[in-house]
């Protein structure tokens, strides 16, 4: 592996709950290369979602080093963090997080608003991305008119529309039935095959097994699958 796309060294993060420190990430070392697919697994409270949030620049860490695409991610100002999220990262959530009053195209086009893409181009790219995830015939549908699997496809299209380097998925099949889950996983396989880096959090062994690498967390430390 050459220069890792995601490079974590001695990463620490502590929450304070009721005045007591809760160590959620402990001296964590991790490298993820471009094009890799990685599953983060662990029991509830092991720190896997926190790790994903830190990687996604949605949460800050206390100490250590985090380089994302070679850029230091510590102490970023709000605007820089927002730009890096927009340019480098795509997010897929368990509960889809689609805006209910916007149709599929507008939902997918939303990240492009924050890179000042002209409206016509935004719409074109959103339509193309929806066609790519198999929803070319659902462009004008509101989320309430879509099934769970279709909603997740819209969410994946939204994550990919900015052509990010890394796709971060938090339990992407957690709210789906097994048949739909398989469809979504197949779609994620295609995305990885296209060269995207995929980091997903899951508690499903079947999902983790489809990834190239599985990292197991326990009490905020990597116990298996690290460097």
């Amino acid at each position: 592996m050459t220069t890792p796309l995601i490079h974590l060294r001695a990463l620490d993060k502590t929450y304070r709950t009721g005045g007591r420190p809760l160590h959620v990430l402990r001296s964590l070392d991790l490298d993820i290369g471009a094009g890799e697919s990685v599953a983060i697994v662990g029991s509830s409270g092991s720190g896997k979602s926190t790790l994903l949030n830190v990687i996604g620049l949605l949460d800050e860490f206390d100490s250590g080093t985090y380089l994302l695409d070679g850029r230091d991610a510590q102490g970023l100002d709000d605007a820089t963090a927002a730009r890096m999220r927009n340019e480098l990262l795509g997010f897929v959530f368990q509960s889809f997080h689609l805006l209910p009053d916007k149709d599929a195209v507008d939902n997918v086009a939303l990240p492009l608003v924050y890179r000042d893409t002209p409206r016509r181009e935004r719409m074109d790219r959103a339509r193309q991305m929806l066609a790519r995830v198999g929803l070319g015939d659902r462009l004008d549908h509101l989320p309430s008119q879509l099934s769970g699997g279709q909603k997740q496809r819209v969410a994946i299209a939204r994550a990919l529309v900015t052509e990010p380097r890394v796709l971060l998925a938090d339990e992407p099949t957690g709210a789906l039935d097994s048949s739909t889950s398989r469809e979504i996983l197949a779609l994620l396989d295609e995305i990885v095959a296209d060269g995207k880096t995929l980091v997903l959090v899951t508690h499903e062994a079947e999902v983790a097994a489809r990834m190239q690498r599985t990292i197991r967390l326990h009490d905020g430390s990597i116990v298996d699958g690290g460097d």
Binding site: L58, A79, H97
Partner: protein, 423 residues
């Protein structure tokens, strides 16, 4: 494109407002009502002030009127209860004051007040005055001239008649017709030549008067040097900062001077009654200044209360949209983008509702203005000036922004990871 100039941003804000029509409608109504009331209050204040000015239009507002009475204090060997009579010497005394401008005496001939031309005879008020009287009464000549100094010097038998007098005596001639100048009328049986016809903003009563030169009238009707009233102006026609002090000085000088001439105490208010229109008008003006401030306070208070409602609505909206705000942060929105988004929503709601209230208020004021009776003595020509409209608009925009600041700040302060987990 994002930010204030973004069309999408405004469309987004509109869709957010329209997504909850009842809430937006009720909040918008409170804003519109606040602005509507502000406009109405301002216009009502303006109408009241105009009515006050209108009621003061008859006589010069910078005038002081003197009338003699009976003494209530024994003074310099004179018993109390003595009747004081103003005379030509008092006129000269007032003319000599540095504060006085136009000065006139007024002598009302006693007894017969019949005015006649040919077979047409009626009773009208007769006033004999100095030439400056026209400045104090606001007399407007519609033909000919007013009484002149030469009329006084030569005791000419000339008369200036009011429009109603002219209409009655000369029913076949328009009152403004030049041919009325030179016509003869009999005043208490003595023939006078008409030299002018006047109108007066004081209305019909003030146009039912015949003015004569004061010297002529005294000679003709036995007035000797007696005058009934003495009036003079102080300072410019529109009161300025120095008017009140000048009036105070003039009144003090007049009381002292006239008291000395007639041998009564300068502190005896009943012996010389002073009607000070300068202070009276200034007092009324002061009331309107306070009324205007009160109007603004109440009006802006109403708008402010509405804005608190807007702020509350936005706070609820932000709370409801917490996950969406977290999502937007995850997708690349900066804190400032979220602040802008909420402020846009606030501005849109406030602007549309505020403009609605403004248009409705101005419309109602215009309707009232057009249908208000000319005789209305309490409300006249209510209007709001451009400055007030401008201030109201600025107040709307500023308060709209202020109403959105707290919710916007709240929205931006929520860490994205927390926002995304919001239930």
């Amino acid at each position: 494109m994002r930010g204030w100039r973004s069309f999408d941003g405004w469309v987004d804000a509109l869709s957010q407002v329209m997504a909850r029509p009842l809430r937006a409608g009720l909040t918008g109504f409170s804003v519109a009502w606040g602005v509507f009331m502000l406009v109405l209050l301002l216009a009502a204040g303006d109408g009241l002030e105009n009515a006050m000015r209108w009621n003061y239009r008859d006589d010069a507002i910078n005038s002081i009127w003197l009338q003699s009475g009976r003494t209530t204090q024994a003074h310099a060997g004179h018993p109390k209860g003595r009747r004081i009579s103003l005379d030509d010497g008092d006129v000269e005394l007032v003319e000599a004051l540095p504060e006085s401008g136009h000065v006139t005496g007024r002598y009302i001939p006693p007894g017969d007040t019949r005015i006649a031309h040919g077979s047409r005879v009626s009773t009208f008020d007769i006033r004999s005055t100095h030439p400056d009287h026209k400045h104090l009464e606001g007399t407007q000549l519609i033909t000919g001239r007013f009484i002149s100094e030469r009329d006084l010097e030569q005791r000419r038998k000339v008369a200036v008649i009011g429009r109603r007098v002219a209409t009655f005596l000369f029913p076949d001639t328009r009152p403004e017709a030049p041919e009325l100048v030179g016509a003869e009328v009999r005043v208490a049986g003595i023939v006078f030549t008409v030299v002018g016809v006047f109108a007066d903003e004081g209305g019909e009563r003030e146009e039912s008067i015949v003015y004569l030169p004061i010297t002529t009238a005294k000679a003709a009707f036995g007035g000797r040097d007696h005058i009934d009233q003495l009036m003079f102006t102080v300072g410019p026609p529109e009161l300025d900062a120095a008017s009140l002090a000048a009036a105070d000085r003039a009144i003090a000088s007049v009381r002292t001077g006239i008291a000395a001439r007639h041998g009564f105490s300068p502190t005896d208010r009943a012996a010389l009654r002073v009607r000070d229109r300068v202070h009276a008008y200034a007092d009324v003006q002061a009331v309107f200044v306070w009324l205007r401030r009160f109007t603004w306070m109440v009006g802006l208070g109403t708008v402010l209360a509405a804005m608190v409602g807007v702020g509350n609505t936005l706070l609820i909206s932000v709370k409801e949209r917490t996950r969406e705000l977290g999502l937007r942060r995850a997708l690349g929105a900066r804190r400032s983008d979220l602040v802008g988004m909420v402020l846009q929503e606030a501005l849109l709601l406030v602007s549309v509702a505020g403009w609605g209230g403004l248009v409705a208020g101005v419309g109602l004021v215009e309707l009232v203005r057009r249908n208000l009776s000319e005789d209305n003595g309490y409300l006249r020509d209510p209007d709001i000036d451009l400055l007030s409209v401008g201030v109201a608009v600025v107040a709307i925009v500023v308060s709209g922004v202020l109403a959105g600041v707290v919710p916007a700040w709240r929205a931006a302060a929520i860490p994205p990871v927390v926002a995304l987990q919001d239930e």
